[in-house]
Subunit: 345 residues, 4 copies
């Protein structure tokens, strides 16, 4: 059984990885690292896990990871992963990194929005871990740059339309809304309970770092430069991300044609659900799951196709997608460990 490590296990994305991997039928969760909680049982950090994940958290070193794990998930803040991954790869490990460090095609683009890239040669080899789009390349990848939550919710609805050349890519707009867990477990006034409850607001309007990440992939898929207008918002809830996409149709099509387009494109993709009842995607329907629900809506008078997508930002937007990538890399069923029946509420 493959032994897997979660490096950075006590942040929200890391803890969600632990949840999924501890219930995964085909891998063994062999190492949890946490600098802040070193020596402490994971279940003392997250008492929900008592009796289920009582591993002690450790600090990591290349040696300790290499000795204890065959496969490595990294859930550290960006910059740290790129200092760690080269050694892991040299030791023959395969890695899914949840930070931005291995998501970009072009080190320059990364450097404009983050910092100097210290492993640019590996960046070229890494694969953007959106399995519904890049599944074939993920199979043999050594390093996966696991997509950001916002890009996942934006790209999955757009790419089929781009492939079918149905929409104008010069006027794309993504209006996204995320639950507070997306901001992580680090304390800040903006995620203090009383500042979030009863508040709805945009933030980092048109300047969020996930914007160039989307642009990079959209440009690759479109094969000409794309710059999407992107505005994220914070919703008073814990989990869930909903994106409303505004596109302009190149030609008039009806909903049936669009349903066909999406259903063909995502045929046999187990985590994409196209709503064909005309209803918009709802975060409540994907909570705790790896699904991405997509709704389609026409505003014919303006020749617009409006799309709504919903994911759980911690699952399909982070840890679930990371495990989906691992499954593909290990030749397992893509859904292994991700098959829990959704909660009705």
């Amino acid at each position: 059984m493959t032994r897997v490590a979660v490096v950075g296990a006590t942040g929200y994305a890391g803890a969600e990885l632990v949840r999924i991997l501890a219930g995964h039928p085909e891998v063994e969760l062999s190492m949890l690292t946490s600098r802040q909680h070193s020596g402490v049982r994971f279940s003392d950090v997250y008492p929900a896990m008592t009796g289920r994940v009582d591993h002690k958290c450790e600090t990591y070193s290349i040696d300790s990871i290499s000795g204890k794990a065959d496969f490595v998930f990294i859930a550290l803040p960006h910059k740290l992963p790129m200092s760690l991954v080269p050694d892991l790869v040299n030791r023959g490990k395969r890695v899914v990194d949840l930070s931005a460090d291995f998501r970009f095609l072009d080190p320059k683009l990364y450097e404009v929005h983050y910092q100097t890239h210290t492993a640019p040669e590996l960046l070229k080899k890494s694969v953007y871990g959106l399995p519904e789009i890049y599944g074939e390349r993920i199979k043999d990848a050594v390093i996966i740059g696991n997509p950001g939550c916002y890009p996942t919710s934006v790209l999955l609805p757009l790419i089929p339309l781009i492939h079918e050349d149905l929409i104008d890519t010069d006027t794309l707009i993504a209006d996204s809304k995320s639950g507070a867990s997306g901001a992580g477990r680090a304390l800040s006034l903006s995620t203090h309970y009383c500042e979030v409850n009863g508040s709805f607001k945009a933030y980092k309007v048109a300047i969020h770092r996930h914007n160039p990440e989307m642009d990079d992939i959209l440009t690759r898929e479109t094969q000409k430069p794309v710059h999407i207008t992107f505005v994220p918002h914070l919703v008073p809830m814990t989990r869930g991300m909903q994106t409303t996409l505004y596109t302009r149709l190149k030609k008039l099509v009806d909903l049936e044609t669009l349903y066909d387009c999406f259903q063909n494109f995502y045929k046999n993709r187990p985590f994409i659900r196209i709503r064909t009842d005309g209803k918009p995607a709802d975060t409540l329907h994907v909570k705790g799951t790896n699904f991405c629900d997509i709704g389609l809506h026409l505003d014919m008078e303006n020749k617009r196709l409006i799309l709504t997508s919903a994911i759980d930002n911690l699952v399909k937007g982070a840890a679930g997608q990371a495990v989906q990538n691992m499954n593909i890399m290990l030749g397992l069923d893509e859904t292994a460990g991700l098959t829990a029946v959704p909660f009705p509420l």
Copy 2:
């Protein structure tokens, strides 16, 4: 002291009217009507009001309203007001109607989206009660069609830009988000606690009835046909509405110029607050108040101006704006009854 009636006092908009009017220094709340709670004290329907508003609710008739009130607020579902207003006007009453019945310029447009209009001659005389835009005409109006909450949050940021001819009105998009109180007190699964909590979703995508209301006013202001793309969403919170507007600039301008434009346009308008610190409007900052906060944000690469607005849907989006209209009609200070200091949280 002017005696005022609230017809339909026990719905959420009606109750908010009662709250504001009971604390208004220059009018007397003389009549509360409620079919459902006839004979019951208002404070038994809303125990929060115990000791402050203990009036008995009554059923209404033209005679009873005429005898007890000089000024009438109607907070009934659309269709009922247009059957009631002609008689009230004949008896010399002035009316602010919170339904859609007197909001449209053109009966035809109303009839497409609602039903046959039974008082079309009065519709022509009514004034759309957006005081920052139509204040002069409101002064002498007999009937005010009080704006919908979504149109208020959309029109206040757009109209200055239209007047200055700064934006293209063919590609307008409004992505709005509302707290659950906007759906009123009537029971439905969509406002059942467990269906709203933890859920974020769009609804009535591009088919909401506030869309033609916005179009009607935008067309009037632009003097050519405008059809905005409008998508409302439901937020898990009680009060508050946030709208993000996507516009395309006709020419490049900087933020300072835009701040000047807005500050000039809304000079001496006490309820408009332009954020000049670059931060987006936040519903938490306007909760319980009649303010409309507006933020401005440039996406220069796409030549877009993005606007964020925040109102309390029950105050500036309904009852507060209704009282503001009354104040203007009665020659009172526009802010009378609406001056409470905002809550910090």
Copy 3:
């Protein structure tokens, strides 16, 4: 594979049963009934389930249930189950009923608080489905009266203390707090979003129907009449129930002794977690799980032992416990279908 039916599948407890049973490795979910949604796919009622539970809901008859299922869960309002169960038992079915109809030892007590019991002879044969206490009798039971959510959260902490004769049973107090899902999916003003959000309140103070249910079991265990003081409260959250119990110690004991008492009593009981770190039980730690967490706290100056318990009202308080009972009845592992790793948040 045992075929199981859920009668009343579209209420919240029924839907939670469906969730658990659809993921259960050893039974087949063969029938879902719903009068209100007859002919409709379950996933159209709960879109979260799309692709996972697409069964059509049907109306039920004794014949249809008997033909399609070997084991029956009833999640109907009380009174209906007692009209249904006799025929099912006659046809050789085993039943877990989630209503109050088969919970009481004594028909008289049931009749005082509910209505005339129409199957009193079966009531005598039914077993109160609290597996940690009555596991042995559950194995061979034909009818299980599945405990109420409040009684579950009250009885599990108290019974070990009663068995050890550590507490005075004349002065018991249970102060319980429940999320809104406990009130079910039926619409009412008291579960309307805006009436729950921001509200915390008691209800049915000392007159809730779960009070006699607790008394009945406490009396059985104590072997003298017990009447606990019980006050339920409504919390603005979807899932979760927390009970704080105030007991008077018969003799002074220290926490270590108490921890030993609980750990011995619940040895090998997989769903009871005793917190030995001094921290109180928290609903967040049991969300979506079948765990009952219990905290112990001394107020020595008053010679009191205070206990805190936390369950998910829909799982250990309803559907999870029902499945746990089924597992025991069918000779399966008690935890089958109930082993998902808890969510960290």
Copy 4:
């Protein structure tokens, strides 16, 4: 017009003081202090206040306070106020302190639960600022120790019963629940949004510092030692505190008698509302107000009187009560600045 200072204006209690005082008709808010935000406009810390409270925050010194204010509110963490108050009193200022420093009768009791008291002689002169009980002494007080939020919600329902000798004071239990604003604006994991949302839990069970404060006053009123069992809980909401009190009646009385007792005791006390409809107190009904609602409920079989109280923890539990105390001290109407009509939701 009396000039008032708020020392520590940017914490939640301080900001709520600012809100109330900025709208107070008879005092002038002349100074706001904040170490953290010195030099910053209050409305930049709380943008809700833009246009209403644009004062610059300053650091404080005895001289600056003395020069700018006649009356001083202190909303600093305990320990700081007792170092500040002696000098202020020497300069002839009157002070309401919202910390614990001046609440206790006995410095020893304070020192057991807090630290060495550095102004014990002033402690003797200070008055516990519960106006409904100590109004006469408050009139002439120089220093008010403003009550804690929990003690306010516990003492107001109990004291009338103690005065009438209706209840046993040896077996008192208070089970209290508070919104998250009670924990203040300082960041901590326990008030991080995702840790509070969906969570209900007790904390500091029987060891909260408000417990000795309650005991001190209950002992004074009972004239024999009282030690109440007190358990606070955290509710996922911003504002509001609900306490359920369990008392044992010394003799059987009916509800009518109890209503009379409370209504007589609190006759002409504008902020106490006794619910005589049998319903429990609800935090939603007091949100944003200085009311304390009290419900009475009998559990005759156990000879218990159960009381429910609800306050807004930031208003009657802190800033509102502080202003009520000031009003009394200055000879103003007790309700000045506290008369806003409650919100219906």
